[in-house]
Amino acid sequence: MTRLWEVSELIAMEVDATGAPLRFRWREQVHPVEHIGKRWRVDLGWWHVHIWREHYKLATETGLLVIVYRDLLTGQWYLQRLYD
């Protein structure tokens, strides 16, 4: 069963030299990235509500399977989905 947050939660992300996720802080806890499964970008709706995001499906060393994204307009990272 997966839980899906409707409003993505802001997280603090640390990246490597190529801009890929290394570790992030979510709800007071730090989650180092163990493995990046998939990566994809969307760029939609520039004419009204612009959504430009880079998504990652990650497994963390803390045992989480998540989808995070980086808002390419603001640079902020968000946790979008958590798989139980």
Partner: protein, 1024 residues
Amino acid sequence: MANYIELHCHSYFSLLDGASSPEDLLARAGELGMSALALTDHDAVYGAVRFVQAAQSGVRPILGAELTLQSKQSDEQLHHLTLLVENDIGWRNLCQLITLARHNAPKGEARLPLELLREHAEGLIALSGCSQGGIPAALRRGDTATAQAILHQYVGWFGQKHFFIELQNHLLPHDDMLNTRLVTLAEAAGVGYVATNNVHYATQDRHRLQDVLVCIRHNTSLDEAGHRLRPNSEYFLKSGDEMALLFSDYPQALTNTRHIAERCQFELSFGLQSLPTFPTPDNLSAHAYLEALCHTGLHNKRIEPSANVLGQLDHELAVIERSQLSNYFLIVWDIVHFARSNGILCQGRGSAANSLVAYLLAISPVNPLEHKLVFERFLSDERQVVPDIDIDFDAARREDVIQYVYQKYGVEQAAMACTFVTFRARSALRDVGKVLGLPPELLERTSGSLDTYKAGRIGDAAAFREVLGERSAARVWGQLTELCTQIDGFPRHLGIHNGGMVIMGVPLAQRLPTEPATMKDRYVVQWDKDSLEAAGLVKIDILGLRMLSAISDSLQMVKAAGGQILDFDHLPFDDAAVYELVSRADTIGVFQVESRAQAQVLPRLRSRTFNDLIVSISLIRPGPVQGDMVHPYLRRRLGIEPVRYPHPLLQPALEETLGVVLFQEQVLKVARDLAGFTAGQGEQLRRALGAKRASEEIERFHAAFLEGAQANGVEQIIASGVFDTLRAFGGYSFPKSHAAAFAVLVYQSAWLKRYHPQAFYAALLDNQPMGFWSPAVIVNDAKRHGIDVLPVDINLSGAGCQIEGTSIRLGYSHVKGLGDAAVEKIVSAKVDDRFTDLSDFCRRTRLPRRQVENLILAGAMDVWGRTRRKLIWELGKLSYREDELELNFPEDDVNFPPVSTLEIMGIEYEMLGLSLRNHLMSMYRSHLTSQGILDSGKLEQCSVGSNVQVAGLVVVHQAPPTAKGHRFITLEDEYGFINVVVRPDIYARYRKVWREMPLLVVSGEVQKQGQVTNLVAAAVSALS
């Protein structure tokens, strides 16, 4: 140097799909350090020549295309395949494949039956395509077996070394997985794999425009486009580093781009040897036959075969033969011969008139020896450019000529040049606005009030802000203007051919793809005129000129009226009365010299000879005005300033233009006489002077010029001054040959206006739209010359205008909404008997009611003595369809209130495009006079500097780009014209009035230039 080369790239010649020009793509590739770039537009090589021309800066151009395939198994699924050209054979095969694909689908589309690849695979390298390729499509639905089968088929056709699996990574969710499967497939089959980015725009920010183009293509808005839009913005030209990151698992995919690029060594080049061999009698060589025809021409034109003439003829024929153009001349001669034999008026224009051969073959209408024209302007040994032969034909019969060429050479070997309709201000605003979801009425209003043609200037248009008000600040309007700026000049779709025909000795498809045009059985090549010329392909321009139709119709009318057959082939150019008409600027309807600008200068020029006409045409153009050549010439002509030559050596060349450099031919002569240039060198100099970016070349010529001048004993300072003059004027000079050919038509049309005005005006009206003036203005001019124009009469009229006594009777075809079919019906029905009343007319012609209504409103049925309102009423009650019984309607006494004259005029204007009554301004005359507002006649009598008020109907509104924001508005009243000059600030202050109101009251100051009066506007209001 980058380690990656983009091999799959779309320019805006992938119509309504690619969002960058070929030039922008190359520039960006250069910035990224790519050593080469491929252009692979959809089923087309439209941009190939421009691509090759722009690729001078170290990025080698690779040609190719992305083909749309159709397989027999799955007709709905259209797959893509990327093809790159390795060598000559590959190019030929690509052209044939594209042609086959295009001819197998409706216009604008392409579908290549898969099996045809087998015969045409040689010389091409194939890449398996984007996600719409057959192989990736199969893999995505998990069908490995089909993917393998397709792969083996391609390898069978192209060869293992000529087929590559294409990998793309646009950071879509399933790209990685697909690439893994593709690589597995490739390795198992022993074929290579290569990375591409399926580029659709040069830089990332252009993805927005690409979305917009896709929406335009699908006729939808951004909000509703859904899956038709690409899911992200990754389809731009990426650097080697970016691609390396995306393909870190498959480094071979990147190095293979370089290997493939190195193999693609094809260079685009053509020769004249592709012309068909013209069939000559008695096995004569083309050269010999040409010579024979020229000697016949000498005889026909009664030219004395002096040593001078024969010497020039031999020289020209020799140059023509050395340039391998004898065949070409015969082909052109043949087309002209066909036309003349069929009574189709025609004459060559442009630089061909410099040629005696062209004159003797009746291609050109002027004898170059009589007008001191220079053959080398047209053709020389040094000049390696294909000559231009453009021929104007009677516009109404041009189609006959085109059909003749198709029949003679076959549709496989003859086709027309293509043209592209590009986005301009109005079309851009409407199309882009619609895509953005803006309300259509608002878009209509805004586009209707735009002053500019360039889509890029929409944003500054005051019209914009005027119509939108505060809304113009909203974000969406900013997006609109930005997108319009980007889309400016983009090709939108293939347009109607413009007359350039390409004829080859081999099937065209072997050299250049063809595709169906809108007209049935009409094909176009995928290059436009500019590309054809740059590629060295010979074409013949078969142009339609309405003045030739008008002249032809005039001659026929004169013959019909009095049996007189006018021989325009031998009309001498020496009638003083004709020149007097031109000098008076009584030139409405006369070819080339009827504009307001011409009317300003002609009285000062006072033409007396044919040469003066040539000068008129060449002088009064934006170029010479900008180069400040007009005033010096006029001052010298009027004796205000003395004629001077920078050096006596220049007198022979510049004598005819009083020391001013006016003609392109003079550039050659000056270079020859002062600096010893050969004619060929002179022509190269002339070209360089007129080109946009030739400063280096011009400098080299500068040095050579000074050197040559010194050898002639000319002081350096004088030589330098002369070269500066050439630099300043050379770019604006006009080909004298072109002007000479046109001057023939000026003379002929002026002659007709002087001696056969009825036939002349009638012919002008029948061939509208043409010329500078609207039909309404022409009618008023006729009236001022004592020729009445009578309304359409249901019994007296014919199809077109007719001479009736001392007047002209308008024809049925002048009524709005009546096409050829309707006119034909009336004419043939009338043969039996006159029309007695409305029901008689309707029963016999069975015209749709709408058209009958228009005839009534145009006044055609006034002869029956009933008011138009009553007739419309009767029409409504009349039943005259075939399958119904004819019913008679009882008379009833419905009374209609009288219609005002103004209303009638308005309706007439709508129905005919003109009004036959008194000029509109006469309705207001008494009111205006009581207010002290002057008419055009009284204005002429005012003294310079006086402040007056005038009124009139706007007939011309010009904003020449060289006039620095000034506008020229011409008002018409019942007596003539008023020239109004509007300064930029005055225009801006009353913009809406100037722009939208048809009747104006203008106050301003009187100015005179010689006999020409102008009013410099200070204020304006609408006349109501």
